[in-house]
Subunit: 193 residues, 2 copies
């Protein structure tokens, strides 16, 4: 049969397409292979296993959608970093779950750490504290976005019980919780002044 012949980048691009169209559960090696008109085993020429493929997909999503944070005071930048990351994750079907998993596994998505960490550079906090803040914010963003996206998909498929949707809207909920964390950071920064 006509050997289609792809490069690693083609495979990642198609994987992003499959993810965004059909969801993470349908992003299987076999499904991806068939979309590329190739046998499943061919994928193992490009990636040692599925985890590495997913890591590459997560990195690609972030590369495409995560914008650098603009200048300003540290608290505005920290808030913008968290908000921008959330929007970036929500921009892709199952983006939050994918990036959070890859990040937790330590195979990719390392750029999100920097994305948040750089906003604290002129906060006056020491490095250990900056790391704690960075991780706390990341856990919050990942947790909130994953729950939001999971909840949405659970509602769209299957029984969508209204009344369970927060009267606020998830965006305002997110902002309010984030402000809580930023205030906690501010309490530490102000003791340095």
């Amino acid at each position: 049969m006509a050997a289609v012949r792809h490069r690693r980048g083609d495979v990642v691009a198609k994987a992003v397409e499959v993810l965004d169209t059909y969801g993470l559960a349908d992003l299987t090696m076999r499904r991806l292979a068939s979309e590329l008109d190739v046998r499943p085993s061919a994928l193992y020429h490009h990636f040692t296993n599925k985890q590495y493929l997913l890591a590459a997909v997560a990195d690609e999503l972030l590369e495409r959608s995560l914008k650098p944070v603009e200048d300003g005071p540290w608290d505005a930048r920290l808030t913008a970093a968290a908000t921008g990351l959330r929007e970036s994750l929500l921009a892709w079907r199952d983006g939050a779950e994918l990036v959070a998993t890859v990040h937790a596994f330590g195979l990719g998505a390392e750029k999100v750490d920097d994305h948040v960490a750089v906003t604290l550079e002129d906060s006056g906090l020491n490095e250990a504290l900056r790391r704690v803040v960075t991780r706390t914010v990341l856990h919050y963003v990942f947790g909130h976005a994953t729950a939001e996206q999971t909840h949405l998909q659970a509602a769209s498929a299957g029984a969508l019980e209204s009344g369970d949707d927060m009267s606020w809207g998830a965006g305002q909920e997110f902002t309010a919780g984030l402000a809580l964390v930023v205030d906690g950071v501010r309490a530490r920064v102000s003791t340095l002044a």
Copy 2:
């Protein structure tokens, strides 16, 4: 063959055992069935699908390990609730991931909301804010515990690169990040006085 005949509770108990011994990836319907000396299809008499089984397992874990928070000022209680939840999740193999997933899907683990929420009852915060705080703390605990547990299993299996382990220890990291959030809450409570 000798029909073994189990009740729903037996199935859940065995599932907890399989989870804690072999991990979430090995908690399959087929594996569980074989441990119970039963055909896979028999499980569908007790649970409509795997999601519901997992929800029951998550509830069972929490039932067995999550202790109520002792009396005291609201901030000490909030801290204790979060710390107790973290310890409860870490007490079981893949406990954090399982409970977080079930919770996000809304099929179980609802008791964790109350576990945290009750500590805020005499904080003076209004209900909307108490909900924000509760969710923020839950996201933080789930995120931190899942990352910690995933990282541990990634390190135990496969390449364990040292130097990547935080110089603090995960417990102190957790405590420091939690204090951040609690300080953020305190900033709101103090404006009420």
